[in-house]
Symmetry: C2
Subunit: 327 residues, 2 copies
């Protein structure tokens, strides 16, 4: 019944003028097109994988520094990890149970001269050469803080006041998209807290109000809301509901890139004792440690700033300019 399908695709009461508006909107260049045209992002031929211009990088670095400034004068340890991590860590973390579709594993060639000839002959004939690759001990880092927990566990019980860490890394999520805010490779700056439930709770509340303050400084309209992770598959529904009802995750939502669909630019997570149990991390009193992390997607904040304040950073309002360049 093609007629019915056509009619149902057009909202009821839509006039000819409404229809024309919708068509104009669809043919207008997207935000991604504008970012590529202005050279802020650079196409690599793969959706969600972009080069960055000097201006874009400068903004990302300054956002990262603004977030990092929270740690000044606090008892915070800075640790940095490469953009890939141990496969054993991924296997143990539970990530493959919850988000198998987003994970990336690094494969390598372990063959000899004749395997190499086969690989090259596949390439010559534009054939699939994935058979030549074997799983290595390395996987892409899915969340900047994942490598931290086994490192802290290996040090023994936490100090009396718990432990706070400053983390930054490129992260990978396998979700090819034409939305510039949904990148396959992007950066997170995070603070991680390990300690008693009270210490983690206090940390998260403090960060939620600090994040609201930062967003006001950047003149970005933002709200904090209860959220859930995109757990995989049919079983995922229960996990999402449970996470929401326990208020384990809050997100910083900015409705700038898509006025109708807020973009999660930060998240404030209470892991309870999940990572404590997995990695056997204990407080100074021997209790199972709780943990939480407050992290920001640096590209998403940058993209919100460029969308709202324009592509010329010199013309940005005094507030954001002061927060990023004279802070």
């Amino acid at each position: 019944m093609p007629m019915l399908t056509q009619r149902s695709a057009m909202p009821e009461n839509e006039t000819q003028a409404d229809l024309e508006d919708r068509l104009t909107e669809l043919s207008e260049p997207s935000y991604l097109d504008a970012l590529l045209d202005h050279g802020l992002l650079i196409s690599t031929g793969v959706d969600g994988l972009y080069g960055r211009s000097a201006v874009f990088e400068d903004v990302v670095e300054r956002i990262s520094a603004l977030i990092g400034a929270w740690g000044v004068g606090r008892d915070v340890e800075l640790l940095r990890f490469p953009p890939a991590m141990s496969r054993a860590l991924l296997e143990k973390s539970g990530y493959l149970r919850d988000f198998p579709d987003l994970a990336g594993t690094v494969f390598t060639f372990c063959g000899d001269d004749s395997d190499h000839r086969r690989l090259l002959s596949c390439l010559d004939r534009a054939e699939d050469w994935s058979d030549s690759q074997r799983m290595s001990r390395i996987v892409m880092t899915p969340v900047a803080c994942y490598p931290v927990y086994p490192v802290i566990a290996a040090r023994g019980p936490l100090p009396e006041g718990g432990k706070t860490l400053d983390i930054f890394s490129y992260c990978f999520r396998h979700e090819p998209s034409l939305d510039p805010e949904r990148m396959q490779l992007f950066r997170q700056r995070e603070f991680v807290r390990l300690g008693t439930p009270e210490q983690v709770d206090l940390f998260r509340n403090e960060w939620i109000s600090h994040a609201e303050h930062m967003m006001r400084a950047l003149a970005l309209p933002a709200v904090i809301a209860v959220a859930n992770d995109p757990f995989f598959g049919r079983g995922g529904r229960f996990m999402m509901d449970s996470q929401r009802s326990q208020q384990l995750k809050f997100e910083l939502l900015i409705s700038v890139i898509n006025p109708d669909k807020p973009t999660a630019c930060g998240s404030f997570n209470n892991h309870t004792d999940r990572f404590g149990k997995i990695w056997q991390i204990r407080t100074d009193t021997g209790a199972m440690a709780h943990s939480g992390c407050c992290g920001f997607g640096l590209e998403r904040i940058a993209l919100s700033l460029f969308k709202l304040h324009g592509f010329d950073v010199h013309a940005w309002p005094p507030g954001p300019r002061a927060a990023l360049w004279h802070g």
Copy 2:
């Protein structure tokens, strides 16, 4: 003939005292042990994959800034790419012909609920779960400058004076090792030049003498020497000889980490028109563009500095301190 084997393992004329010296050396903690003990590097359980302390990162960032300072006042475009790149780029670049063993490809899960259950059941039984993974369109970046060439090609012919780029990225090489200077994930800061053969030649010569100047400023004993890439397999021998005889590659060698085995901490490469041909990059006169790159392994320079000047950066000699902290 075990006796013979044993005798040949011991150098001729080795005295009892020599032998004891060698045993002491073997049982002494390695440089990697010392770096881990001092917390400058952090174990992840995978050889060649380490976390970094705040002090280590600070030194790496300052080395990067020192290298980047060459671009000040020059007509240089800064571009940044994530630590992974397009698989099509790797396939076209020739890297899999020359260094298949070093490349890393990113695989992902593309299955449904039942594939997911199989994956989890493999994990539960500690079985191989690589069958669940399919090759994605993304691979690890093997050399920081690789993503640049197709981007420049897409812009059309080069400007009259050629083109110079400032590049920085995490890179991956699949070569697990206990030598801290042989990391699987490390950072490169590079300058890339595209233009006429004369422009590329001039650029490389200028960089070679600038690198010698930088090493004197850092008080690192260094020499520049003709070198070759580690081409794979039996056919690789010919490539190495050819590269050496044409002097296409020079390396910055620092004999600090291993007094007997110099560490390549930088390289100065003339690609001739190889990338020009692959990506169809032309000069303003329509000639096939030549290219060259001068790049540095930031972790290797940092490791040389820590080895020679000690783990306390405040106690480093005035020269390196001035070059990095007051430059």
